[in-house]
Symmetry: C2
Amino acid sequence: MRILVIGGSGTIGHAVVTELSQRHEVVTAGRTHGDFKVDIMDNQSIDTMYKQAGKLDAVISTTGNVHFGLLSEMTEKEYSVGLKSKLMGQVNLVLLGLKYINDHASFTLTSGILNRDPILYGSSAAMINGALDGFVKSAALEMPRNIRINIVSPTILAESMDQYADYFRGFNPVQASKVALAYSKSVEGKQTGQVYNVE
Amino acid sequence: MRILVIGGSGTIGHAVVTELSQRHEVVTAGRTHGDFKVDIMDNQSIDTMYKQAGKLDAVISTTGNVHFGLLSEMTEKEYSVGLKSKLMGQVNLVLLGLKYINDHASFTLTSGILNRDPILYGSSAAMINGALDGFVKSAALEMPRNIRINIVSPTILAESMDQYADYFRGFNPVQASKVALAYSKSVEGKQTGQVYNVE
């Protein structure tokens, strides 16, 4: 397969590339790193990336930002970061990618644990993860040409605990290499409409 | 208690008013009907409504629009309807209402079944419902002054089957009066951070 990983230089993205490049041709895209440059908040940029990337059997997104902060200090403006980036950025990768990717290809997006196991400062992350999980479950019903769509929802990464342990006390961190297996299952298996919780 | 129901003239809203006005003082708000006029997509309008409504022990929202349509015919524009109205409209009712409502008061929002039981044309509804459920579960951790927040996620209403039965074949419709009980539990009980699935 020929696989595009958007966000391939992040911790999860790098582990996904490592896992899948053992068996497939993997190309990467990102805002600053990768084979192709892309800003997922800009539909023109997404379209250009797909034109450059050529034929694809799988599109994986491990990218997107959300604002973390106290709800009492947040307004619509802070919530819009996640709505535009992690949510609609990833949704637009699907909507625009549909006209480029091969029959029987797959999309795999990334959400996260915080909508089912919330933490302080995480109300925007919980909102965006829930939105993505819901979108993918429903979008799977309408994919044309036997195209599939799944989403991976990981807990906190072991690799991120140095930085974020105080916010995730009591969570059981997982290695990015284990999270990468869920992307492998999505791309190399046949399931669709699945939310893969990795925790 | 003094309770504000936003969307009080809709099918669910009307049932909620009927249920709660037996025991409480209920005032209503809506775009065209109700004691107070409000456009939930306009923060200034929300603020004015709260100023007019006075002291409140509970705020219930049974309002908000989403676009239903084929994913292949939808762009960011169609998804933005639900993001601005049903999602951020309800979220802004919480963010702005926090400075007006009483200690120990509650917010109760409305999502719906389509993120856990998807249908054709429902990818935006699934996204918005998932976002709302996630937000409420997380926001409950950060409510000040013992304020609570829950959300009701009903299946298709028996009262709506005349119009929508073809889209919901196999679903078990519920009467609005049964859905109203979940709002009663949220307002008159002590739970917080709950998603009440009514189906």
